[in-house]
Symmetry: C2
Subunit: 409 residues, 2 copies
C-alpha cells in the first residue's frame, strides 16, 4: 500500500472521551473510528488486522474438523423463549427491535438457539455426529457502559463455535482439541506468553468452564494465579472449597487484572433439551445431544494485542497480525527511487511512505502504526547496496544488503 | 471438501412457505437456511458463493482505486437527523432499537451519513480528494413483505461504495469508471448477457441515476427496453417526455420483469451539504464536496444467479462463483480409490462424494447443488486411463485422460 493512495492519515489526537489506550492509539493510527461508546468502524489497517486474526482462527478450527457458517443477526424469539433466554430479566443485554409486519425481534448476542434450531434439519442419526460448526459474526450486547475501546463492544466481532456429540465422553474429546486449538490461536496472534487457561464457573450443567485470560493491567476481570501460573482461577471459583479440591490454598495465589479473550464451555444438554435436538442411536432409540460452545472475541483480541504491546511511540504489532510487515521509507531522490523498486510486487507486504513529508514524520508514523519492520533506504545505505531494517519491537537497526533483503521476502 | 466431512445434506423439500425458486433450491441444496421471511443463514456452500462474489467485486473496485472499510450496524441518530433521514416518515424501512443507557439507535439500512461523518476526520484539503471508499456490510431493512428468497432481504449483504470529489466533472469521471467496474462484475459473476444499465430517477439533485437490472421473470421491478436493448428505462422515467429527450417513443419499447442487482447514483451535495463535509481549495477557500454512491446487492446477486440458471434438476452455477468447480464420484472400489487420489491436494476445487450411497443419488446431488463439472471415475473409464467430465450447464459428457485432466487443473 502506498501512503499516498490511502485516505487514512494518522491523527494527532484521539477523541477526548476515548480514555482507553487501545481505543486512542487505534484511532490515532487509523485502524478504527468511533461511532459511539462500544461501537466502532474498522478502517483499512483495522480490517487487515481483523482478517489476519480471523484467518488464524479459521486455520486452527478447520484443522480440527470444524465447518464455517454465517447465522443471521435478527433473531426470531421462538427458540429463545423455549430456553427462557428472550426475557430481559434472564438476559439483560438484548437489543430488541420491532418488525414492521408485527412482532419483536432480537439482535443476536450469541447464537446457541438458532444454531440448534438450524441443525434440526441436518442431524437425525448417530451417523451425523459429532459436528463442530463456527462462524465469525457481529454480536450485539446492550452494555450500560463501554469504556475499554474495542476490548468491550456493544457491537463486536466474535468467533463462536458449537459442537454436538452423542455422549459426554465424545464432547470431552473434542473439548480437549478445542483447548489446544485455542492455545495455538493465542500463541499465533502474539498473546501466547501472557494468556492463561482459567477455571471459571460451569453453570448448572458442568463443574467448570474455562476462560482464556490475558493478564493485562486494564483488563476488566480479576483472576488469581499461583507461582508457576499452572493454576488460574477467576473470581467466581476462587473459594477455599474449590481450591481444596486442587490441593492448594488462597495464600499461594496472587491477584491480577486480565482480559478474557476466549472461553470454552460444556453446555451438555442445556440447549438441546428444551429445543429438542435429538438423534437416533444404533438401536433406533431417540437420544439427547451433548453440546459445547467455544468463543473468541476477534475484535477484543485485536484490542488486547494493541493494549498489551503499545509503548510511548504507539502500537507494536506481532508480525502474524500486523496490517503490513514492512514500512518502507526512501530518503533523498535516489533513496525514494530505490524504495519504489523494492516496493513493487510487494504491495501486500509493505507500506511505501511516498508522501512529501520529512523523514522524521514518516518514522513517527511507522512507529505509531506499529509496523514490525521499518526499512530505510538512503544515499548512505545505497553506497553499500544496502538498506536499514529496524525492528519496531526492539528498536534495533540492522544493515542488510538489498539483494539479500529481497531474496528473503 | 468431502461430503462425509460436511454437516450439509441435500433436503428433499424446502419449507412450504418458501415460494421462490432461489430460496427453495438454495435451501434444498444446502446453501442457506431460512430463519424468517427475508432473513437467512448461510451454510458452507453459501458462504463460498458469497465470498467468491465479494472477491470479484473487491478486485474490480480495488482496480479503480477504492479502499475497503467496515462501518458499524448500530447508528447514532445525530447525522441522520441532520439529513432528515432518521424519521420513519422519510425512511420507512428502519429497524430501531433502544440503548440501555438511553436513546434510540437505528440499524443501518445504508451508510451515507456515517461515512460522511467519519470522513470529516480525513478530508480537509483538495489534496485529500478524490476518494472512493467501500464496504461489504449487512444491511437491515424493515420490509413489510419479503417473499423472494435471498433476492429481497430484511437482513442482507451489500457492497456500498461512496466517492468524494472536488467537482461534478471529477465525480463524472469516477462515475464512468464505476460503471465499467460494475459491468465487469456482472460479466464475471455470470450475469453479463442479461443485465442492462437502466435509466432511473436521479432524485432532486441529478437528472438520472442508473440501475443494473437483470432481466428475470420473477424480478420485482418492471423495465422497458428497445429492440437492441441499448436503451432501458425503469418505470419512474418511462414517460413520453423523457423518451423524447432520447429521440424515441413508447411504441418502440417492450416491457419485462427485472431484478435490480446494482445501482449508481450521483448524490452531488445531498449529504455533504447538511453534514458539512467540506474541503479547502488551492486558494484556501472552503468548498463543498461532490459525492456519488454505488451499490451492489451481494446476497441478492447470488439469488439472481441461482434463479436465472436453475433448471428442473437444480442449481447451475457459473464457474466463477460456484462453491466448487468439480464434483467427483468414483464408481466401484477401483473408481473410488482413484477418486480419492484425484481429490488429494485439490480440496478447494473439488467436492469428493465419498458417501456410501448409490451413484444415482450422488449424480442427483451434483445436479441439485449445481457444481459446474461432474467427474466420474469407473472401471470402464479407468480401462482407458480416463475419467468422464460432464458439464452441468450443457449436460455434455467428455472422456478425458486422467493425466491431462490433472495437468489442466
Amino acid at each position: 500500500m502506498k501512503m499516498n493512495n490511502t485516505f487514512i492519515k494518522t491523527l494527532r489526537e484521539a477523541p477526548k472521551e476515548e480514555t482507553s489506550t487501545n481505543g486512542a492509539l487505534l484511532t490515532r493510527a487509523g485502524f478504527i473510528h468511533k461511532e459511539m461508546a462500544g461501537i466502532y468502524d474498522y478502517l483499512p489497517f483495522g480490517i487487515r488486522v481483523l482478517e489476519k486474526i480471523k484467518n488464524i482462527v479459521r486455520e486452527e478450527l478447520n484443522a480440527i474438523g470444524c465447518e464455517e457458517v454465517l447465522m443471521s443477526t435478527l433473531q426470531n424469539p421462538e427458540p429463545w423463549e423455549k430456553t427462557g433466554r428472550f426475557s430481559d430479566a434472564e438476559v439483560d443485554i438484548w437489543f430488541k427491535t420491532e418488525l414492521a409486519s408485527g412482532g419483536t425481534l432480537g439482535l443476536a448476542p450469541t447464537h446457541e438457539e438458532p444454531m440448534v434450531e438450524m441443525l434440526k434439519n441436518y442431524i437425525s442419526s448417530y451417523k451425523d455426529l459429532p459436528l463442530a460448526i463456527y462462524q465469525f459474526q457481529t454480536k450485539f450486547r446492550n452494555e450500560k457502559r463501554a469504556k475499554s475501546g474495542i476490548m468491550r463492544g456493544r457491537e463486536f466481532l466474535m468467533k463462536d463455535l458449537y459442537s454436538f456429540h452423542t455422549s459426554e465422553e465424545d464432547l470431552d474429546r473434542f473439548y480437549e482439541k478445542a483447548e489446544q486449538a485455542y492455545k495455538n490461536v493465542f500463541e499465533r496472534i502474539g498473546l501466547g506468553d501472557c494468556t492463561y487457561e482459567t477455571f471459571a464457573s460451569g453453570g448448572i450443567f458442568s463443574k467448570y468452564s474455562h476462560e482464556f485470560q490475558t493478564f493485562l493491567p486494564v483488563g476488566e476481570d480479576t483472576v488469581y494465579y499461583n507461582e508457576d501460573r499452572s493454576l488460574v482461577f477467576n473470581k467466581e471459583v476462587f473459594t477455599d472449597e474449590i481450591l481444596a479440591e486442587f490441593g492448594t490454598t488462597k495464600g499461594k495465589f496472587s491477584e491480577t487484572r486480565a482480559a478474557e479473550v476466549g472461553n470454552i464451555f460444556k453446555l451438555m444438554l442445556k440447549f438441546s433439551d428444551p429445543l429438542e435436538l435429538n438423534y437416533t442411536d444404533e438401536n433406533n432409540n431417540l437420544q439427547k445431544i451433548y453440546m459445547g460452545c467455544y468463543g473468541i472475541g476477534i475484535s477484543r483480541a485485536m484490542g488486547v494485542v494493541a493494549e498489551k504491546y503499545a509503548d510511548e511511540k504507539g502500537l507494536v504489532w506481532p508480525e502474524s497480525i500486523a496490517p503490513f510487515k514492512y514500512y518502507v521509507v526512501g530518503i533523498g531522490d535516489e533513496g525514494a527511487e530505490e524504495a519504489v523498486k523494492i516496493y513493487k510486487g510487494h504491495e501486500e507486504l509493505m507500506i511505501l511512505d511516498d508522501r512529501d513529508v520529512r523523514p522524521g514524520e514518516k518514522f513517527a508514523d511507522a512507529d505509531l502504526i506499529g509496523i514490525p519492520y521499518r526499512v530505510v533506504i538512503s544515499e548512505k545505505t545505497l553506497a553499500e547496496d544496502s538498506l536499514e531494517v529496524t525492528s519496531r519491537a526492539t528498536g534495533e537497526p540492522k544493515i542488510v544488503k538489498i539483494d539479500k533483503f529481497l531474496s528473503n521476502l
